[in-house]
Amino acid sequence: MAEKETIAIPARRKSGSLWGDAVYRLSRNRAAIMGGVLIILLILTAVFARFIAPYTYEEQDLKSNSAVAQWELSIFPMMEPYANITDKYALGADNLGRDILSRLIYGAQISLSVAFIGPVVALLVGTVYGLISGFFGKNVDNIMMRFVDLMYAIPTMLLIILMMAFFRGSFNLSEPGSFAWWMNEIDKRFGGMLFIFIGIGLTAWMGTARLARGQVLSLREQEFVLAARAVGSTNGRIIFRHILPNILGPLIITVTLAIPGYISTEAFLSFIGLGVNAPTPSWGSMIAEGSTAIRSYPHQAILPAIALSITMFAFNFLGDGLRDALDPRLRGT
């Protein structure tokens, strides 16, 4: 593999390791770099939301509910006759008089955390599951994969919706001190994020598990594994030192390409009211609130829609770039 890669690299650069080559190829991809920079900016926004946002996400000014900033009138002139013009808020306020800009900034927190939790769970759980299943084979493999097949066959969205309804309904009423109660307390502290993480995590790992297993099955029979076994390597060492590094590339590609899916799942859940708890802002719930007033105050729905789309763009660009960099054979798929 490594030899083949070095041939593909132009001679003006000293060839490095497999990962070094990947980084080099990634750095040559302008769209991916743009996506990466955007993502870094978004992460900074989410982490320092408290310092950047001019107001908190729940601060209400009832005098300026559905207030409109002056510049927004030039884009949406139909609001002129009834608009409550304000210069207090840069992007106007929502129907409860909360600053839209601040809510957008805080909304980045939930989208970004889903964008990281989803792949991490998928990678950790899925890889370990697939490795065990593929490496030990036979009955272990059979039982483990039948379970994945069963879970995989159930439409993900239905499962997530049902689970979210279950979490929201039952953990709320559980006895103080019990496990469910603690989960609910943590969830409340994070504005409803924990259950979203669990819901997405519980459904994210199956694809990676299948992929990892398939890769392991083909690698397990190769000479280098036999060689490792011949010199007395333990199962654990073979799995983690010899097989894992070889299957990591495709796994990383898959989970990165899945990130926009996790982001839109969260937005979808918050949109239908099973995501974050009010008043925690999520772009999905902001779109839901805004779209009820789309005729009179279109900016309330369109601004979070733009924020969501930009984030998805960034992750798609980076994901595509990463795929091209890690596996040049897949370029353009």
Binding site: P155, A165, A267, R295
Partner: protein, 351 residues
């Protein structure tokens, strides 16, 4: 092949049973019941209601009764004795005798309607929306991918792939409000909300009138739902065609002196479309869940809205009915994709 199909159907059935068990379990694991309102009902009333809907039976009995109601077909000539004695599928056989199948039970919230009524009235609308979106995504996506692949690294390719990445990155929830505002509110070209068909339908879901009065309602939601999937199909078609076009048999076809058009349509495209078919299953699932959002944004009276509200309302039979119905549709779609895949590509041997 027949063995494979039989196996897949059996498997679909197992998954549906599992899904019904999960749904039933999660539903009843949540404390509180369907009759918890903001204003508490007197305990006697709740007791009577629970008795009426057999909610005081042991859980396993409720589950078994439900499954029997849905699965076991009946043939009889008695007129329905109560509101809950209604079936989704009624086929007249002879005289007054009718074949009944699938009783999804009553709805606890809307007393005058059963789940069957809700499904019968709302599902065709969701179905129209879904089918039109799939058709649109295929009509736009495949040509886009083919053009991009045939004119690789030209302006057409870049243009097509930019459209594709736009489609992948802008989800329905983001595109919906923007479309409603531009075309429904600002330009007033299309109605911002509503749906243009009413029952009765031909063949269960085809509306009787297909004039502008129908189409003008469909354009926005179908575009919003279809464009992202068109993008996925375009990307996949392009990648797959690029791979196929470098195969030896394409060179053979060219060297035989066939025209480029025939090489592309007869030899390349046929093989390139096989991987595209595999995504139709997951795509169908995504479009179905997309209809939940689209129905809300575009004010369409489809089944998705009932599914979402039934969950917050704890309307057990509606949750069960809609979940099973959606699950059934998605699994059937996957089944058809699997079968057509095995049929189209004889290299794939299932055992």
């Amino acid at each position: 092949m027949i063995r494979f199909i039989a196996q897949r159907i059996l498997w679909t059935f197992v998954v549906l049973l599992f899904l019904s068990l999960i749904t039933f379990g999660l539903m009843h694991a949540v404390p509180g019941g369907p009759f918890d309102r903001e204003k508490t009902l007197p305990p006697e009333t709740i007791k009577v209601l629970n008795e009426k809907y057999h909610l005081d039976d042991p859980l396993w009995k409720q589950y078994v009764d439900y499954l029997v109601g849905v699965l076991v077909p009946r043939v009889n000539d008695n007129p329905p004795t109560s509101l809950t004695d209604s079936y989704l599928i009624n086929i007249p056989l002879w005289g007054d005798t009718e074949f009944h199948w699938m009783n999804f039970g009553p709805s606890y919230r809307s007393r005058s309607r059963t789940v069957n009524d809700i499904i019968r009235e709302q599902l065709p609308i969701s179905f129209q929306l879904g089918v039109l979106s799939i058709i649109m995504s295929l009509i736009i996506g495949m040509p886009l991918g083919v053009i991009a692949a045939l004119k690789q690294n030209t302006v057409w390719d870049y243009l097509g792939m930019s459209v594709a990445i736009f489609g992948v990155s802008v989800p329905v929830i983001a595109m919906g409000p923007v479309l409603v505002w531009i075309f429904g509110v600002a330009l007033k070209w299309l109605p911002p909300a509503g749906w243009g068909s009413k029952p009765p339908y031909l063949m269960f879901f085809v509306p009787r009138q297909l004039g502008w009065d129908y189409w003008r309602y469909t354009i926005l939601p179908v575009f919003a739902l279809g464009v992202s999937h068109a993008a996925i199909i375009a990307r996949l078609t392009r990648a797959s065609l690029l791979q196929v076009i470098r195969e030896d048999y394409i060179r053979t076809a060219r060297s035989k002196g066939l025209t480029e058009r025939i090489v592309v349509t007869r030899h390349a495209l046929r093989n390139a479309l096989i991987p595209v078919i595999t995504v139709l299953g997951p795509m169908f699932a995504a479009i179905v869940t997309g209809t939940f959002v689209a129905e809300q944004i575009f004010g369409i009276p489809g089944l998705g809205k009932y599914f979402i509200t039934s969950i917050t309302n704890r309307d057990y039979p509606v949750i069960m009915g809609t979940t099973l119905l959606y699950g059934m549709m998605l699994l059937l779609a996957n089944l058809m994709v699997d079968i057509s895949y095995a049929w189209l590509d004889p290299r794939i041997r299932y055992d």
